[in-house]
Amino acid sequence: MRSGRSRVVRLSGLVLLWPVAFAALYAYRPVVLDGPIFCPVRLGTGVPCPGCGLTRAFCFMTHGEFEPALRFNALAPLVIAYLAALWIYYAVDAWRGSPPAWPTWRIAGVMLVVTAAFWAGRLVEFFLSPDALSTIWRDNGLARLLRLFN
């Protein structure tokens, strides 16, 4: 069993997590479209990963702009629901001192399958677009590196 102080610290951290994340995403919204790319898949190959566009989607959602948010990444609402479930899991753990008996492997596995299917669709859409090859040629890691030295 955790001590009372440790429990309060954990619960406070968890309670603060959402408003802090919301405030950060809300504040980032005006510059998010000019922000850097962190995705290693996108940086290395020029091809979008299943998570590409989520930061932009979350930022737009904090401003109530749901339609463009879904265009950036249609998985955004599902990812928020998943993160909320994770939050509940750790909130229960912090409150009771023991984690809830959830089928965590199954939940993560289902999310994994959904994401893989989403990525497959995204890749099909990407490679069917007329500028797919030019995008890869322009945005792959090697081309980015070469541009740095030119």
Partner: protein, 120 residues
């Protein structure tokens, strides 16, 4: 999968350099698969949910969650080392920083340490 012993179900010995190469050439996608498999092995070996799989998977979608998952994998690895007697001190922080900041190096190092645990 690994064999069951008095100290827990052991995981599979993998070529740690190959894990590094695969993580690099797949731009980290293999790293997510690696984390998933290692989480299962560590949980089985330690006999508890040391690494929550719900944290491992969305790492590729939500980087802050990946940081938390890296911490739990690092912590569970250090715990497995102590349990097997292959390490005398807790190296959680080193593993965590490597997995977070230089992921492919962290994958290589943690795999190397886990191989020692599985071979003990």
């Amino acid at each position: 999968m690994g064999d069951a012993t008095a100290s827990g179900v052991k995981g599979k010995v993998e070529n740690s350099a190959m894990q590094l190469v695969l993580t690099l050439v797949t731009c980290g996608i293999y790293g997510v698969y690696w984390s998933w498999v290692r989480a299962k092995e560590l949980n089985d070996y330690l006999g508890k949910q040391a690494v929550n799989p719900m944290l491992v998977f969305p790492g590729c979608l939500c980087p802050p969650v990946l940081i938390v998952a890296s911490y739990f994998i690092a912590k569970a690895t250090a715990e497995a080392e102590m349990k097997a007697g292959t390490a005398q001190k807790d190296d959680t922080i080193i593993y965590f920083l490597l997995l977070w900041l230089v992921n492919f190096v962290g994958v290589w190092m943690v795999q190397d340490k886990l191989n020692a645990v599985w071979q003990k």
